[in-house]
């Protein structure tokens, strides 16, 4: 057997329609996937995960996951716990914004400066959690 060691963390972001925090959750997750930790992370598509996507669920069963939720409904965290197991870490966007909803200029998808700053903060936090999880992974 050949081993290809690959420590990876699955990032599960909420779908987040209808609120700007959902958009922030998604974009922050993508920033980590594409820029901050591209070799250490993989995305798990939440709708596919919840609907029974075998690759998504198989990965989440055997690799550590970090869930990123926009709001207190915690779709990503609850779904992951239900179908795979407790995530290694859970991040909620409103928690990082002092338990407040993020103000916007009116659109849920066009982030204003404040929302962009929060997105970057969330991305940094996700990246830190990825490092923590990988450090503890024996």
């Amino acid at each position: 057997m050949v081993d290809l060691p690959q420590k990876m963390v699955g990032l599960i972001s909420c779908s987040g329609e209808g609120c700007v925090e959902g958009t922030i959750s998604r974009i922050a997750t993508l920033l980590v996937l594409e820029k901050l930790r591209p070799a250490q992370t993989v995305t798990i598509c939440l709708p596919l995960f919840l609907a029974g996507g075998k690759e998504e669920r198989a990965f989440a069963k055997f690799y550590p996951t970090i869930t990123v939720d926009g709001c207190e409904k915690l779709c990503a965290k609850i779904g992951t716990e239900r179908y795979s197991g407790k995530p290694a870490s859970s991040i909620v966007v409103t928690d990082l914004n002092g338990n407040q909803n993020c103000s916007t200029t009116g659109s849920k998808r066009k982030l204003d400066d404040q929302a962009i700053a929060l997105t970057e903060k969330v991305a940094e936090r996700i990246a830190q959690e990825v490092d923590e999880v990988l450090n503890h992974w024996k």
């Binding site: 081993d3 290809l4 420590k7 591209p38 993989v42 798990i44």
Partner: protein, 164 residues
């Protein structure tokens, strides 16, 4: 799968050699022959069926168009038999052998996604009557060799991501 790393599975009972990269299972069909570009050839009596590998469809992305050479055409080894256009890129498909095109997979014009969902089955591309099969086969890879090539490609990709 296990919690650390990727296990390479060479289960003799399986039709495939397979590995897991990130969350994707990548398979190589045993008993087929392969080009380095990711095209497979399966000998079926006097004919040869041709398709794309799991690795090629996965790296190419969701296929929007598959355009193939015309029925009755003569193709030379390593010349074009069509293109596979995805949301990301357009891939030129080169014939693994020389021959005459006896069948073209008509399903792909309406359902190009078959090349993604079933690359070794319903997503086949063309069937050829070979002109010089024995000679052409000499430069094709076995499933084991292509599998090792695929693993090397995956490792290279992973290193590129690490160096970003």
């Amino acid at each position: 799968m296990r919690t650390k790393g990727i296990k390479v599975d060479d289960c003799k009972l399986s039709e495939y050699l397979q590995t897991v990269f990130e969350k994707f299972e990548l398979r190589v069909r045993k008993g087929y022959y392969y080009t380095e570009d990711g095209v497979w050839a399966s000998v079926e009596g006097a004919k040869v069926r041709v398709g794309v590998t799991d690795y090629l469809q996965r790296t190419g992305g969701d296929v929007a168009f598959v355009e193939l050479v015309k029925l009755g055409s003569t193709v030379q080894k390593q010349t074009g038999i069509g293109t596979m256009e995805t949301a990301k890129t357009t891939v030129s498909l080169l014939s693994p052998i020389s021959g005459t095109v006896e069948e073209v997979n008509g399903m792909l014009s309406e359902k190009p996604e078959l090349t993604n969902s079933d690359p070794y089955g319903e997503g086949w591309l063309i069937i050829l009557t070979p002109h010089s099969l024995e000679d052409d086969m000499k430069s094709l890879m076995s499933a084991d060799d292509y599998f090792q090539l695929m693993l090397r490609k995956l490792e290279t990709e992973h290193r590129k991501l690490e160096s970003r």
